[in-house]
C-alpha cells in the first residue's frame, strides 16, 4: 500500500519535472524569436528617422549613410553570420547617430524627430533586453537540465542544453580611443 503511494508520488513528480523542462525549452525558443521581432522593428523605424533628421543634419551625411547601408545589408543578408555582423554594424551606426543628434539642439523642437528618437531608444533597449531574456531563458533551461534530480529526466527524454547568445568578436575588442591633439578635423 505504502509502496503504491510512493510510486504514485514519484510518477507525479516526474511528470511535473518533464513539463517544467518542456516549458523551459519553449521559453528559450520563444525568446530567440523575440530578438528577431525587435530587430525587424528597428529596420522599419530607420527610414523615417533618417528622413526626419536629414534636413537638420546636412553635415552628418557619412553617419546617416552608414546607418542606411548597414540596414540594407541586415535585411538582405544571405546567412546568419553576415546577418549578425550587419546588425552589430547597425547598432554601432545608430549609436553614433543618436550621439551626434545631441549636437543639434534645434532637433529637440521637432516633435516628430523626438518621437522617432524615443521609438528608436526603446527599440535599442528592447533588442538588448530580448537578448538578455534569451540568455536568462537559456540559463534557466541549462540549470534544470544539469541539476539533480531533474537531470535524470532531462537526459532520459533527450533535452539538450542551449547555447548562449554570444557577442560578436569585434564587439568584444576594446575600442581604440585617440585623445591626442593631432591635426584638427574639418
Amino acid at each position: 500500500m505504502i509502496a503504491l503511494v510512493i510510486l504514485i508520488v514519484i510518477a507525479v513528480y516526474m511528470v511535473g519535472v518533464y513539463n517544467l523542462l518542456v516549458r523551459a525549452r519553449n521559453e528559450v525558443d520563444n525568446s530567440w524569436r523575440q530578438i528577431d521581432v525587435q530587430l525587424k522593428r528597428r529596420h522599419d523605424l530607420i527610414p523615417n528617422l533618417v528622413e526626419a533628421v536629414k534636413g537638420y543634419m546636412q553635415f552628418e551625411r557619412d553617419t546617416l549613410t552608414q546607418v542606411v547601408e548597414a540596414r540594407g545589408k541586415a535585411i538582405s543578408a544571405p546567412d546568419q553570420a553576415s546577418r549578425v555582423a550587419a546588425e552589430n554594424q547597425l547598432t554601432a551606426g545608430l549609436g553614433r547617430l543618436l550621439a551626434v543628434m545631441e549636437n543639434y539642439p534645434q532637433l529637440k523642437s521637432d516633435q516628430n524627430v523626438m518621437q522617432l528618437q524615443e521609438q528608436l531608444t526603446t527599440t535599442e533597449n528592447q533588442i538588448a533586453f530580448s537578448r538578455q531574456a534569451y540568455n536568462d531563458a537559456v540559463l534557466n533551461l541549462n540549470n534544470r537540465i544539469q541539476s539533480f534530480p531533474s537531470n535524470l529526466i532531462a537526459n532520459n527524454f533527450g533535452f539538450k542544453p542551449a547555447e548562449y547568445f554570444k557577442a560578436a568578436p569585434e564587439d568584444q575588442a576594446l575600442p581604440k580611443v585617440d585623445l591626442s591633439l593631432g591635426t584638427p578635423h574639418t
Binding site: 521559453e27 525568446s31 523575440q34 531608444t121 533597449n125 528592447q126 533586453f129 531574456a133 536568462d136
Partner: protein, 346 residues
C-alpha cells in the same frame, strides 16, 4: 545572511527560502491555535493514542477567510484602482510615452506579458503593482514619478514593480491576509467562549479516554496553552505578515537588478525617493504594501526605532539603498553589518 558581494541571483534565492520559512511558521501557528481550540471544545480527541475528530473551528475559520480573500482576489485590481482614483495612462506627452515604453521594456526583460498602465494624479513620486496573476496585472505610477524620474530611474522602479507581478507577491500577501484574519478570528473566539465558561466544561468527553487518569490534567494544560496562544498569536501573526512583506520588498529590489542588470537604476531612484518622501492622498493601510515606498503619512521609512520597523510594510530606505550599493560593488557604510537577510526582522 547576505555576504557583502552577493549577486542578485543569490539574494533572490535566499529571499525565496526565507519567505517559504515564514509562510511555514504562519501555517503552523494557525494550525496550532485552531487545533488547540478544537481539542478544548472536543472536536478533536485523543482516543487510544490516535487523534480523531474533525477540527471544525479551524476549518470554519479557514473557509470564512478564504471567501473574503477570493472576493478581493477576483474583484482585485479594479477595487484597488478605484480606491486610489487611478486612470489609464495614455501617451499624451513624450514623458508618458517614455513611461509606457519602459513598462514594455521591463516586461520583456522579465519575460512576462505587458501589464496595463495606470496613473494617479498625485505629486508624490510612487508606484505600485496589482493584479491576481501576470496575465491580469496592472502597474500604476503617480504624476510625481513621471515628472521627476529619468529613464534610468524609471527602469529601476518599474522593474521592481514587474518583480512583484512575476513573483506573485500580490497573491502571497493575500494568502497571508487570510491566515492573519483566521488567527484573529480564532483568538477572538477563544475569548468569547472563555467568558461563558467554555473551558473545563467538557470533561464528559475526556472520560472516554479510559487508559489515563490524567486526561483531565491534559485537557486543562491544553486549555491554558491555547489561552496563552490566543493572547499572543494575533500580534505575532501581524509581525510575521509585516516580515514577509519586507522580505518581498527586498526580493523585488534584487529582481529589479536582475531585469535591468543595472543596480544604479534602482539605487538612484531610491536615493531620489528618499529625498522627497511624501505621503499619497488616497493610499490606505490595506494596500500600502503594494507601493515601492511606504505611501502613508508619517511612514518615516528611515530607521525610526526598532518597533516602528517591525510593523512596517517596507524595509527602511537606508537599508535597501545599502544593499543595492553592495550589489553595485560600491563602498559605503559597513556593508556586513547592514546587509543581514534574516537575523533581524527587517
Amino acid at each position: 545572511m547576505a555576504a557583502p558581494h552577493d549577486s542578485f541571483w543569490e539574494l533572490e534565492r535566499k529571499n525565496r527560502r526565507e519567505t517559504a520559512l515564514l509562510v511555514v511558521v504562519f501555517i503552523l501557528l494557525f494550525t496550532a491555535l485552531g487545533c488547540g481550540l478544537d481539542f478544548v471544545f472536543g472536536n478533536l480527541r485523543i482516543i487510544d493514542d490516535q487523534i480523531t475528530g474533525v477540527p471544525l473551528l479551524t476549518i470554519i475559520a479557514l473557509v470564512i477567510g478564504s471567501i473574503q480573500s477570493l472576493v478581493s482576489y477576483f474583484g482585485g485590481a479594479a477595487l484597488v484602482l478605484a480606491s486610489v482614483h487611478a486612470r489609464p495612462l495614455l501617451p499624451d506627452s513624450p514623458k508618458e510615452q517614455t513611461v509606457l515604453d519602459v513598462v514594455g521594456e521591463m516586461a520583456l526583460a522579465a519575460r512576462m506579458p505587458v501589464p496595463r498602465a495606470y496613473v494617479i494624479d498625485d505629486a508624490a513620486p510612487n508606484a505600485f503593482a496589482t493584479g491576481r496573476d501576470p496575465q491580469h496585472s496592472v502597474i500604476c505610477v503617480t504624476r510625481g514619478l513621471i515628472d521627476e524620474m529619468d529613464r534610468e530611474e524609471l527602469q529601476g522602479v518599474l522593474g521592481h514593480e514587474m518583480a512583484h507581478v512575476r513573483d506573485y507577491d500580490i497573491r502571497t500577501m493575500m494568502m497571508i491576509a487570510v491566515l492573519v484574519g483566521g488567527i484573529a478570528m480564532l483568538a477572538d473566539f477563544v475569548y468569547r467562549w472563555s467568558w461563558y465558561g467554555g473551558f473545563g466544561a467538557r470533561d464528559g468527553r475526556g472520560d472516554r479516554d479510559s487508559s489515563s487518569g490524567g486526561s483531565g490534567n491534559a485537557a486543562a494544560l491544553i486549555a491554558v496553552a491555547v489561552f496563552i496562544l490566543a493572547a499572543l498569536a494575533p500580534i505575532f501573526s501581524q509581525l510575521l505578515a509585516m516580515a514577509v512583506s519586507r522580505q518581498r520588498e527586498y526580493l523585488a529590489d534584487a529582481a529589479s537588478v536582475e531585469f535591468t542588470r543595472n543596480p544604479r537604476a534602482l539605487l538612484r531612484a531610491l536615493e531620489h525617493l528618499a529625498q522627497t518622501e511624501s505621503p499619497l492622498k488616497h493610499a490606505s493601510r490595506g494596500i500600502a504594501h503594494l507601493f515601492i515606498v511606504n505611501p502613508l503619512e508619517g511612514a518615516g521609512d528611515d530607521g525610526e526605532g526598532f518597533f516602528a520597523n517591525l510593523l512596517s510594510t517596507h524595509p527602511p530606505l537606508s537599508k535597501r539603498i545599502a544593499r543595492l550599493r553592495a550589489v553595485a560593488g560600491e563602498g559605503g557604510p559597513d556593508i556586513a553589518a547592514v546587509a543581514v537577510a534574516g537575523a533581524s526582522p527587517a
